[in-house]
Amino acid sequence: MGDLINTIKEAVIDGDAKTVSANVTAALEQGTDPETILNEAMIAGMAEVGQLFEDGEFFVPEMLVAARAMTAGMQILKPQLVQADVKSAGKVIIGTVQGDLHDIGKNLVSMMLEGASFDIVDLGADVPPEKFVEAVKEQGAQIVAMSALLTTTMPAMKNTIKALEDAGVRSNVKVMVGGAPLSDHFSNEIGADGYASDANKAVALAKKLIAA
């Protein structure tokens, strides 16, 4: 079993989706606990990917293919996890804010969060404040994660937080923000609960916000 777990983990790191899918299937057929596959292969693999990114060994392309490989494995694993009643780390509503069509940062964060066992509700790009509000009301998520790449669309983050306040749901969720032009200072200024400068730090922040 250890060999299969290790093969899946290495295949996630290498971004080899076919090997991940084949070995997740094989591990399940051998009777391996789905939670063990999730924690020791998938999450452990993505954690290493995050570390390689932090260390300057991995860049955006390597992160993306690793995340794709992880997603391929999760598609097979998810029904088994549901059946085994394995709890996720939390639920995150994520989107690029209104007026901004850039989705690379949002996608990376989304994939890394999924790799850390969060449930993701991806609203896509150019998301108006009311759509975030609607999702918070419907999804019962713990976190709203917003991304912006343009300085011109950063104010939409503040507008979205205000919309959450006006709808009376701000206290239901923690709000985290990210994107190239952002900073801790800006995050505090608009009343967000946290800022992450990259996808790996976003995972750490999400875990911290859930634990708070």
């Binding site: 860049f59 392309p61 069509l101 989705d103």
Partner: protein, 347 residues
């Protein structure tokens, strides 16, 4: 040629007698807002466009504007020539949606655009011709051609995730596509330069290069990058990439561009150490946190720190990126004042 541009050129060519220029990449995300007009009016009214650009020169008499008079539509010009959908806004340049994010689609359908007929390119070329007729009697002109680089352009017509993943999983296919885009970029730049009475060089903008590993860069991008720079041998070549990408600085240093507008997140002295003295560094005061939202005193101090760190050598004073939307005039004044004071001190 105006005296500020002449000084900039002499600085790039390392000719004697130049002072440290204060130069700014100024484009359509900033200019219409600065002039308090609708972005669409900025594009549609030649009179307004010209007045704003001329007023800029009068308002900041010691600044150099790069690339100068620039018909700039954000990412839309090149992306439109490949068929992308454009979405126009009243308060920012047009945004772009990929036509297809399927690599196989592009493998089968990519067609090298003709700058004379495709997308917004012919419109921009005509705008350049028409403006030149008005600039010439004033003794002014357009001197630098501008284009987005091959990774940025490709990311806009096929989506950035598809592009980035393909660099690893479909190297052969994406390389063929990037070769077509590179050749098309050269044709687009050539078409612009052909409209200029006194062409001096090119400005290439490609942030995505900073998001890949050194290994990936050397394997796929470096030959294409060099192809562009080599094509403009003898001209001034300015490269803008404001992602933090120190890992590439040593390999970028000898690719062939002369001026590098880089991120404020890299210390200018560290950048000079990594790149050597063959590239002139253009930077690198924080464009948003200080340029747009700092005080003039903070901008002045940050600019002065940049000058002191490299003793004003091998550098052009600027922001670490373009001029951000909402940057007040006073903060550009502060930067120009820092350059003036430095130049007077070291006379």
């Amino acid at each position: 040629m105006d005296k500020n541009l002449d000084n900039f050129v002499r600085a790039v060519r390392r000719q004697s007698g130049h002072t440290v220029p204060a130069a700014f990449i100024v484009d359509s995300p900033w200019l219409p807002g600065y002039a308090n007009i609708d972005t669409l009016d900025y594009y549609l009214s030649e009179d307004t466009w010209l007045k704003i650009n001329l007023d800029l020169r009068e308002r900041f008499p010691t600044a150099t504007w790069i690339p100068g008079f620039w018909w700039e539509y954000g990412m839309a010009i090149e992306a439109s020539a490949y068929g992308s959908r454009l979405i126009f806004h009243h308060d920012q340049p047009p945004s772009v949606e990929p036509l297809s994010t399927d690599l196989q689609f592009w493998k089968e359908h990519i067609k090298a655009p003709n700058p004379e007929t495709d997308g917004l390119m012919p419109l921009v070329l005509r705008q350049m011709e028409r403006m030149d007729q008005r600039l010439e009697p004033m003794g002014l002109g357009q001197h630098f051609a501008s284009a987005r680089g091959m990774l940025t352009v490709t990311s806009w017509f096929m989506g950035v995730s598809t592009l980035m993943e393909s660099l690893i999983t479909e190297t052969e296919t994406i390389t063929l596509i990037l070769e077509i885009v590179t050749d098309s970029t050269i044709r687009w730049l050539d078409a612009q330069l052909a409209r200029m009475r006194e062409p001096l060089g090119i400005l290439l903008l490609d942030d995505l290069v900073g998001m890949i590993s050194k290994r990936q860069y050397l394997k796929t991008i470096d030959p294409l990058f060099r192809k562009i720079w080599d094509h403009y041998d003898g001209m001034i070549k300015i490269y803008h990439n404001d992602t933090p990408c120190e890992h590439l600085f040593p390999v970028l240093a000898d690719t062939g561009f002369n001026v590098f507008n880089f991120s404020h997140m890299t210390d200018i002295a560290a950048a000079q150490k990594l790149m050597g003295d063959q590239v002139l560094l253009m930077g690198n005061v924080a464009p948003r946190d200080l340029g747009a939202f700092g005080t003039p005193e903070e901008v002045y101090q940050a600019a002065w720190n940049c000058l002191e760190k490299v003793d004003g050598k091998g550098m052009i004073l600027s922001f670490g990126g373009g001029v951000s939307p909402n940057t007040p005039a006073e903060n550009i004044d502060a930067m120009c004042k820092a350059a003036d004071n430095w130049n007077n001190k070291t006379k």
